[in-house]
């Protein structure tokens, strides 16, 4: 026996739009992206949605399902009871291009400002326990759901002041890399605005890769900034002994 799913999908562009009703048959194991694809193939060929891998690895198909940020390729339809329409909207934090597709170019601009990996001279051996903490950050698939949910970006639109969780994760992956020699502490404090994060952990909650964004990336970065700029003992030590490296 086949059942159906009711969908309400945002259709529109930069100038506005509306939620449009669709109905598709439910199939076993179906995910939200499948439902969108069925609509595309049978009812609305011009429905715009990004996707690539359909296996939770590329981070292209982010959207808001019943108001919650989700990777639509990993979001099972059977989580949602029959009889109630499922709403699918584009990520709110970024400008809509069309339908479920948003303009995420700001993220790429932020990324480009981060000074790249700079390898140390000499011995390059390091151990798995050192790799572990960096690999957690490098799991990031750049779905931008954390950027989307972060209230600093979503509600306050402070995109000029705050780089957002994604790029604090990225910079944490560089700063804690056992072979990296670049110093990004000033960048983290000023251009990336780590102080704007007030640790509500919304980003951690939506991360499809379960990266402990707040605890493992942002808080240690805040500590580095605090050590460098706000620790009076270190400040005096620097004045007396010189040097400014607060890296552990």
């Amino acid at each position: 026996m086949s059942s159906t799913a009711q969908l309400k999908i945002f259709r529109g562009d930069r100038n506005g739009g509306a939620m449009v009703d669709y109905e598709v048959p439910r199939t076993p194991g179906m995910v939200v992206l499948d439902a969108v694809h069925v609509v595309q193939a049978t009812q609305a060929p011009d429905l715009a949605v990004r996707w690539n891998c359909k296996a939770g690895k590329c981070g292209s198909c982010s959207a808001e399902v019943n108001g919650k940020p989700k990777l639509t390729c990993m979001e099972r339809m059977d989580k949602y009871p029959e009889g109630t329409a499922i709403s699918i909207r584009p990520m709110k934090t970024f400008p809509v291009i069309k339908d479920l597709v948003t303009d995420v170019s700001w993220n790429y601009a932020v990324n480009k400002k981060i000074p790249p990996f700079k390898i140390k001279e000499g011995e390059r051996k390091y151990y798995q326990y050192e790799a572990d903490r960096v690999q957690e950050f490098r799991k990031c698939i750049e779905c931008f759901l954390c950027q989307n949910i972060c209230h600093v970006l979503r509600e306050h639109q402070l995109k000029q002041e705050f780089a957002g969780p994604r790029f604090l994760v990225r910079v944490a992956g560089l700063e804690m890399h056992p072979l990296d020699t670049e110093d990004r502490t000033e960048l983290i404090k000023d251009a990336m605005g780590v102080g704007f994060c007030n640790i509500t952990k919304c980003c951690t909650e939506v991360c499809p890769e379960s990266i402990q964004i707040t605890d493992n990336a942002i808080i240690p970065l805040k500590e580095r900034v605090a050590d460098r700029y706000y620790d009076p003992i270190r400040w005096i030590a620097r004045k007396v002994f010189g040097g400014n490296d607060s890296r552990q």
Binding site: G29, D46, C58
Partner: protein, 605 residues
């Protein structure tokens, strides 16, 4: 008429996966003004889906490994139909390319003494795959992306190329549209590198993303370049089979590399029944010996036992699974069982195969630490593609280069797992380097033939002009189903002839598609255009498959089950002449004596 917006570059790279990014980095390093055109957003290309690892004879885990063994394994895996020089360069240069990634910040899993860890994989004599759990592709694309954005490359995202422009017999650039606005732009370039990946969307059960619509293969064909080895398509043995939503989604060979075993519905490890003569000497013939091998590997020792037959090459394992299912010993959903749960602890599984754990738990309600997976063959990779010079990667059209999956020759009749990530690094770099040098040799930018541009634009916009017509999705689905049935893992004369006929009628239907809406981010329109590539390249595959009346590697003929010595000396070349795809037999390049000697011991099996 208003002139089309036109950009000028020395080198334009089409495609931003591993090969395209590596080519762009190299071209820019050589001083070329370089543009990188991505079909999707940067960092989302198909490389991101590669799981198991990148093959390079670093000899970090087993010091018996070196480039010669890697070369031999690659040639053997390719059933000796590879372009030997590419296989040699690949084996020699892969270690340097992997170490370079580490210098650019990649964080590979480590050995106990702090070096890059390597794992076992099908067809590789030694543990050779540098990896990051089961997300090696993500690590590589992100490393290249972060290197690339600081290399002075101009990146154009969500831009699809529709035609390579030719003037005076050489490349003069390309033309395409951006997804957001649907506007056509010309890139005037001294050299173009195709790095567009594969053709897997022509089949119904596929591990490939929407991007894999044979773009580069078709662009090269239309530009007059030669295609090589188009009959060889790799069906990966282990795709998901259930639920329907994820049918075809890849399960890394790393599961077997970590000790996973294949079983049929009778609970038997059937791979022992499928060891080909050429591999008998290297593979265990009892479960006891196979298990000894796994035990040594887990203990971090160099095994003295022979390898489990689950680690035979992909063509062999895929055919074996196909046979087990056909003979009624399959799992409930048309595959077989892949069991890691009884082989490794739940902690080890979650640590070494986190993506697989997550994927099954979330999409199939299966806990792979306690239950077996159901797996079956899925269209994964094409060995065939643009015929290139083995050192420069230049095609038969001057100024047109190709690297990665879209290029042919490196893998012969079958690719070894892990050799794709290394292929795209080695030959991506070479393509970028030689494209830049080609550009340096020409002082002025080649002229653009405006008629070619306008013809392409006009043809591309036709679907909007029709009031009546068919939905492109329906045609695409019919093509995929037809290719799956008739040009799939097992082929025969009658099916292939029917396929060629079917492509003719599908092509007719594709000429009359209708798409609603406008040119702005319109996936129906994009698919209507992609159909042309998919149909032309499907025809090339079907015709090459019909021509090769033997079975070898990724090409299996029910009606010609033997591997024939004579066919081992021939590559099939296809090209477009006067609107028709022609087919030619060309003699296989023979390796020099010292390399032949490396293979000789093997060839006598």
């Amino acid at each position: 008429m208003e002139p089309r917006p036109t950009h000028q570059y020395d080198v334009v790279i089409v495609g931003a996966g591993g090969a395209g990014l590596r080519a762009a980095i190299e071209a820019a390093r050589q001083g070329a003004k370089t543009a990188l055109l991505c079909k999707s957003l940067l960092g989302k290309a198909h490389t991101v889906m590669a799981e198991g690892g990148v093959a390079a004879a670093l000899a970090n885990v087993d010091d018996r490994d070196n480039w010669k063994v890697h070369f031999r394994d690659t040639m053997k895996g390719g059933k000796y139909l590879n372009q030997w020089r590419m296989a040699q360069l690949h084996a020699q240069e892969a270690p340097e390319r992997v170490n370079e990634l580490e210098e650019w910040g990649a964080v590979f899993d480590r050995t106990k003494d702090g070096r890059i860890l390597q794992r076992n994989f099908g067809g590789h004599s030694h543990p050779r795959l540098a990896h990051v759990g089961d997300r090696t592709g993500l690590e590589i694309i992100r490393t290249l992306q972060d290197k690339g954005i600081h290399s002075g490359i101009d990146v154009f995202m969500e831009f699809t190329v529709r035609r390579i422009l030719i003037s005076d017999g050489a490349v003069s650039g390309c033309v395409g549209y951006d997804r957001e606005k649907g506007a056509f732009t010309v890139f005037n370039a001294k050299a173009v590198v195709l790095a567009t990946g594969g053709i897997g969307r022509c089949w119904e059960v596929s591990s490939n993303s929407w991007e894999y619509t044979a773009d580069g293969h078709a662009l090269a064909l239309w530009a007059g370049a030669d295609l090589l080895d188009m009959e060889f398509v790799q069906f990966h043995p282990t795709g998901m089979t259930w639920p329907p939503s994820v049918k075809g989604t890849l399960i890394t060979e790393g599961v077997r590399g970590e000790g996973g075993v294949l079983k049929n519905s009778e609970g038997k490890r059937f791979m022992f029944n499928y060891i080909p003569a050429m591999f008998k000497a290297e593979f265990a013939d009892t479960e006891k010996e196979a298990d000894e091998w796994v035990a040594s590997v887990i203990a971090g020792k160099i095994p003295t036992a022979r390898r489990p037959p689950e680690l035979l090459t992909r063509d062999v394992v895929a055919r074996a699974i196909h046979r087990e299912v056909a003979e009624g010993r399959g799992a409930p959903h048309g595959g077989v069982f892949l069991d890691i749960a009884t082989r490794r602890t739940p902690e080890e599984i979650k640590r070494k195969l986190p993506g697989m754990y997550h994927q099954f738990k979330q999409l199939a309600d299966v806990d792979i630490t306690t239950d077996p997976m159901e797996v079956g063959p899925t269209c994964h990779y094409t060995m065939g593609g643009v015929r290139v010079h083995p050192e420069t990667q230049e095609s038969t059209v001057p100024g047109l280069f190709a690297a990665g999956e879209v290029a042919a020759g490196m893998h012969g009749a079958n690719r070894l797992g892990g050799n794709s990530l290394s292929d795209l690094l080695v030959f991506g770099k070479r393509a970028g380097e030689h494209a830049a040098q080609h550009a340096k040799r020409s002082a002025a930018h080649p002229r653009i033939d405006a008629a070619q541009v306008e013809e392409c634009v006009k043809e591309s916009l036709l679907p909007f002009e029709r009031n009546e017509g068919e939905n492109p999705y329906a045609i695409s689905e019919d093509l995929q189903k037809m290719m799956q049935r008739k040009v799939g893992i097992i082929r025969e004369d009658k099916d292939l002839r029917e396929a060629i006929e079917a492509i003719r009628s599908l092509r007719e239907r594709a000429r009359h598609t209708k798409v609603g809406g406008n040119v702005q981010f319109n996936p129906g329109w994009h698919l209507a255009l992609d159909l042309k590539n998919m149909l032309d390249i499907s025809e090339a595959v079907a015709r090459a498959a019909l021509e090769r009346t033997e079975s070898r590697g990724g090409h299996t003929r029910e009606d010609h089950p033997k591997t024939e010595a004579d066919w081992g000396k021939v590559n099939l070349v296809m090209r477009l002449r006067d609107g028709n795809i022609t087919l030619e037999h060309v003699p296989l390049e023979q390796p020099p004596a010292e390399l032949k000697a490396l293979l000789e011991g093997e060839l006598s099996h």
